[in-house]
């Protein structure tokens, strides 16, 4: 494999995954595996699963039959030739459509899961926010009560001072 270092090895069926045995890095191997899987999935969705061959107009079983050059088969094939496009229409698009549907559904599931996850996080935040607000409000309420009590005490002190003042005045001016 070009560009490979000493101690590196690629695997049969996993040519794109190379491992440096002198210094094994699990994170690197896993990212190579993930890359390989995503590229496989992409090519599967794009129809490259047919090994890059241009798909023939005829289904494989018909081609094999042509190869045998059997007269009866040839005759049958000739009879059925007008139906080939219809057969292809029935097989390939259905398959492709299924694959696309699957991809779309997977995408939708991913999006929904993400949305649910986000909502969950928001709910948690909201819960914690509400909790904090309640705590703060409770503290404020207690503070308010304290202040009210203090005001009442000051008022009483003031009243007492006024009474004292009057009494003193009366004594002075007598």
């Amino acid at each position: 494999m070009p560009g490979k270092n000493k101690g590196e090895e690629a695997f049969e069926g996993f040519e794109e995954i190379s491992i440096d045995y002198e210094n094994i890095d699990v994170a690197d191997i896993m990212s190579q595996i993930k890359r390989k899987i995503s590229s496989q999935q992409k090519s599967f969705l794009q129809g490259e699963h047919l090994d890059g061959k241009e798909s023939s107009l005829y289904p494989p079983e018909f081609e094999t039959a042509v190869g045998t050059r059997s007269k009866i088969k040839n005759l049958l094939l000739r009879i059925m030739r007008p139906l080939y496009p219809l057969i292809k229409l029935l097989i390939l698009p259905v398959y492709k459509e299924l694959a696309e549907n699957l991809a779309r559904t997977t995408e939708r599931i991913d999006r929904t899961t993400e949305r649910i996850q986000r909502t969950k996080e928001y709910t948690k935040l909201l819960h914690s926010l509400t909790h904090n607000i309640i705590v703060e409000l409770t503290k404020l309420k207690i503070e308010e009560e304290n202040l009210k009590v203090k005001t009442r005490i000051i008022e009483k002190d003031l009243e007492l001072l006024q009474k004292r003042e009057k009494a003193l005045e009366e004594k002075v001016f007598k």
Binding site: F11, G13, I19, Y21, I24, V26, K36, I37
Partner: protein, 390 residues
């Protein structure tokens, strides 16, 4: 110095991760201090029904005091309460009701802790999610050390745990991921803590030949060791393994070791050995090509460490942060999030004996760096010293 380990269950036949960790640590710490275990009479972790006799017992030289479980757990009622608190806005008292139902509900154990607080220097509580830890730490906060063994379980986010995780004098974490999760949940970075883990020792002289013949296991196999349970991701493992066999036409077998609560698919290449003695477990593990760990929730997978001790690579579930983190740090295992990744990772591991060997060697090195008993004991002693200085 006198230390009490407070744990939900204790016994040689109990193989649960936290309980095993507690027993190993207690047995190793008895060299340095007086160690005692305070536990319940339960054996079954689903109902906590009293099983062991009440009173004192000695297990591997450690005095064990067992207290009765006053009320066994009703799994259906517990499930209903848990469902309610996880899906609805609720009050703290609902969480406490859930905790009581979860159990093991043993007021006698808590009464003993309260009465004998002065007899012990420290109480080491195991598993933050259980009744005995919550009320135990609240009873003796100044003498408590917590080993949370917390997993990415939704209940860990309950308010009662957020507060609880700020109360002990020290916290002993099993992995970096656990520490990170707990710190982010309760903002308790100021509490003394260390990542301790566990020491791994492998028995000498084991051979799987005879044993495998008895079960009719021929050829290469991968192995899963642990409880065979949906919570451990085993249903997914069966599904993935059978799909892999179909698609790859591989002749690899899957060997399962451990008790089961799940129906195992009937397939000629799936072997269930049940619960087997330690030595036999190491034998089958040593003959396997790799260990597969499909679990979603793990606070420290001891069997993963044991596989690395034997030089076996691991294929782990990436949805479990702890397993993924350990694979990344050790470079001794691959991980998967879905079937495609499982297929590719397993295929790569099976197709290269060199990769398996190199990863196995990495696992051994990783283990020797952090998971030896000397390191674990020193970490515990250093925590005690720091607490004494405080």
């Amino acid at each position: 110095m006198k230390i009490a380990f407070v744990v939900q269950r204790y016994g040689l036949e109990i193989s649960g991760g936290a309980e095993l960790h507690c027993r190993w640590i207690a047995e190793h710490m008895k060299k340095y201090c007086d160690v005692e275990v305070l536990t319940t009479r339960a054996f079954d972790y689903i109902t906590w029904k009293n099983h062991y006799p009440r009173g004192k017992d000695i297990i591997n030289g450690i005095p064990v005091k067992r207290f009765s479980v006053k009320r066994a757990r009703n799994p259906r009622k517990f499930g209903r309460i848990q469902d309610y608190i996880l899906k609805n806005e609720h009050l703290e008292k609902d969480e406490l009701k859930w905790l009581e139902e979860e159990g093991p509900f043993s007021p006698a154990l808590l009464k003993y802790i309260k009465r004998h607080e002065d007899d012990y220097d420290y109480f080491i509580f195991y598993c933050c999610r259980y009744y005995h830890s919550y009320w135990g730490i609240n009873t003796v906060p100044n003498k408590s050390i917590l080993v949370p063994t917390a997993e990415h379980d939704p209940v860990i986010h309950l308010k009662i745990f957020k507060d609880l995780l700020k109360k002990p004098r020290a916290i002993i974490y099993l992995t970096e991921e656990e520490k990170k999760m707990i710190n982010s949940i309760s903002q308790n970075q100021n509490i003394l803590g260390d990542i301790v883990g566990v020491g791994i020792e492998t028995p000498s002289n084991f051979s799987a030949g005879e044993f495998l013949k008895r079960y009719g296991i021929k050829g290469d196999y991968i192995i899963y060791v642990g409880r065979i349970d949906e919570n451990k991701g085993c249903d997914k493992l069966f599904d993935y393994f059978l799909r892999f066999k179909r698609e790859k036409t591989s002749d690899i077998s899957l060997v399962l070791v451990g008790s089961t609560v799940l129906k195992i698919p009937s397939h000629p290449d799936i072997f269930h050995l049940g619960f087997i003695p330690e030595k036999e477990k190491f034998s089958v593990l040593d003959s396997a090509l790799l260990l597969v760990m499909p679990s979603f929730y793990e606070s420290l997978s001891i069997v993963t460490l044991e596989a690395w001790a034997l030089g076996k690579p691991v294929l782990a579930n990436a949805r479990c942060d702890v397993l993924k983190g350990q694979c990344l740090r050790s470079n001794a295992g691959l991980y998967y999030e879905n079937y495609e990744e499982f297929k590719s990772a397993l295929d790569i591991l099976l197709s290269s004996s060199r990769l398996r060997k190199t990863m196995g060697d990495n696992g051994r090195r990783y283990l020797n760096k952090a998971y030896t008993w000397e390191i674990v004991e020193n970490k515990f002693l250093s925590i005690f010293n720091r607490l004494e200085r405080e």
